[in-house]
């Protein structure tokens, strides 16, 4: 089980609990604004962009090559950017804070 905190572009803070699946699916199921996941989680649309809190980067790791390429679709990409369809929920990411990209 992992607690994951989302901060939306309206500065709303929402903490959700998940046990399995992707962080994107958790966010979509709970209507987190700004995370669409249009492609269903296959790293094809870049509509689930989040910025991981700097101190949580060791928990999430950084983007894979294809993910990093896809992130470039968004001009707001930075070194903390991830597509959260590529983040699997597990104990090891418990407590992370994700800022939803604008």
């Amino acid at each position: 089980m992992a607690k994951i905190t989302f901060i939306t572009s309206d500065n709303e803070t929402i903490t959700l609990e998940g046990t399995s699946g992707s962080v994107m699916a958790l966010a979509v199921d709970n209507g987190i604004k700004g995370i669409d996941g249009d492609c269903g989680g296959v790293c094809s649309c870049a509509t689930c962009h989040v910025h991981v809190a700097a101190e949580d980067m060791d928990k999430t790791g950084s983007a894979s090559e294809i993910e990093a390429d896809m992130l470039e679709l968004d001009d707001n990409v930075d070194e903390f950017s991830r597509l959260c369809c590529q983040l699997e929920i597990s104990d090891s990411i418990d407590g992370i804070v994700l800022k939803v990209a604008k």
């Binding site: 979509v28 209507g31 249009d38 492609c39 296959v42 094809s44 649309c45 294809i66 679709l73």
Partner: protein, 421 residues
């Protein structure tokens, strides 16, 4: 219409797939306070369709693992979902729809998101044969899965070498089937891609043990207790235990046509997804819409179009200025190959093929009309897809010589550096 007028109004959506569902949630987000009621003949909670021919087919997951939104999300947003319900007709004068059981539901705004259905070709013996499946719905996939499981020989003939046919062929191969694809044209994907890309995918399937045969016009299907025989007009025939049909779609436009809405190659809508009726919008696969980037009316079969048109319709209904203006994009997964496409290549007069680092599996196809970059197909090359997207949107003039130079890494600055001489 201002937001304050939206209370106590009813918005009805016919069709609850990518377009209809995304529309409903967008409408709520945009401020619609009245009822939102979705109808779909499909009995399952709305699900993602692209995985049906890909990862979902090869998994043992139920459709509940593949939902567009959780069941609770609908309740939370006050969206009513009527599943397994067939809409019989609509009356524009009385502003209501009539359901299969004869009951009537009034609307203030009506959204047609009826999508499309697979074409079942008029091949002799096909209509009354068992184990013949299209692939469009969750039910189709569960039927295909059990037919494969219950077949000892697992010989499959796929009729049609488009994306659905090819993805299904790759997935069934993974399930242990022996697969043959029969394509009527001289090459697969003929309608949508350059010959070089057809060749790439033909070879990919061959390497993975799937036979792709082109110029094969299927004319008859014979069944006996043992198996089926698929006959082509060149005298050849192929044995099959089950048959997949992937020869394209018909737009579900009958409801709209019967109600007298403008129809061309789909339900005709303006740049806000509105039909020729002030209170009726149409979104997704069923629409024939204007694309400002390519300056023509088009019809698209894609998730991107469904989702983006849904958002535009929702915004427009809530009284905000908007225009549907996107560069279309698509994807396909076959074996370990990820294909990403952006733009519309129709009308191209030149294709430039790039192969990165001499890697035969990392390719990109750049379609030009004169100096204008129309589209990019990227094979295992997200970078080319992303750069293509940006360059097409910006309308940049590409330095073709630099694009052709595969010794040089793909970089935007290099691709748009001025042409010397």
């Amino acid at each position: 219409m201002s937001i304050s007028l939206i209370k106590n109004k009813t918005c009805i959506v016919i069709g609850a797939s990518h377009a209809g569902v995304n529309f409903a949630f967008s409408l709520r987000r945009e401020g619609w306070e009245g009822d939102i009621i979705l109808y779909d003949a499909d009995p399952f909670l709305p699900y993602h369709r692209p995985p049906l021919s890909k990862a979902y087919l090869t998994s043992e997951d139920g459709i509940d693992k593949n939902l567009l939104k959780s069941e609770e999300s609908y309740a939370k947003e006050g969206i009513t979902l009527n599943l397994g319900v067939y809409v019989k007709s609509m009356d524009r004068k009385l502003k209501h729809i009539i359901l299969g059981d004869g009951s009537i539901q009034s609307y203030d705004k009506l959204i047609i998101a009826t999508g499309a259905r697979p074409i079942m070709p008029s091949i002799q013996g096909l209509a009354n044969s068992n184990n013949v499946f299209p692939l469009r719905t969750a039910t189709d996939v569960s039927n295909i899965r059990s037919a494969v499981k219950n077949s000892a020989n697992k010989e499959v003939v796929v009729i049609g070498g488009g994306y659905i046919g090819l993805e299904t062929a790759a997935s069934l191969k993974k399930l242990g089937a022996k697969v043959t694809v029969l394509e009527r044209e001289e090459r697969i994907l003929a309608r949508v891609t350059a010959p070089e890309m057809s060749t790439f995918f033909q070879n990919l399937h061959l390497e993975n043990g799937v036979d792709i045969l082109t110029s094969k016009n299927v004319i008859a299907l014979e069944s006996n207790n043992e198996a089926k025989i698929v006959r082509c007009d060149d005298g050849t025939s192929y044995r099959a235990d089950l048959i997949i049909i992937g020869v394209g779609i018909f737009v579900n436009k009958e409801l709209a046509a019967a109600a007298g809405l403008d129809i061309e190659n789909g339900i005709k809508v303006d740049e806000t997804a509105k039909t020729n009726d002030e209170d009726i919008y149409a979104i997704g696969d069923c629409t024939f819409h204007y694309n400002p980037h390519y300056d023509r009316y088009i019809r698209l079969e894609s998730v991107q179009n469904a989702v983006d048109q849904a958002k535009v319709a929702a915004t427009s209904i809530c009284g905000k200025e908007t225009q549907y203006d996107t560069v279309p994009w698509f994807w396909s997964d076959q074996y370990d190959v990820k294909l990403q496409m952006v733009g519309l290549s129709q009308g191209y007069d030149q294709v430039i093929v790039r192969r990165e680092n001499n890697d035969n599996k990392c390719l990109s196809f750049w379609y030009f009309k004169g100096e204008i970059l129309l589209a990019v197909d990227a094979v295992n090359n997200a970078k080319a897809y992303v750069y293509g997207t940006k360059l097409i949107k910006r309308g940049e003039i590409i330095n073709k010589e630099n694009l052709m130079d595969c010794e040089e890494d793909l970089k935007i600055a290099h691709l748009i550096s001025p042409i010397i001489g």
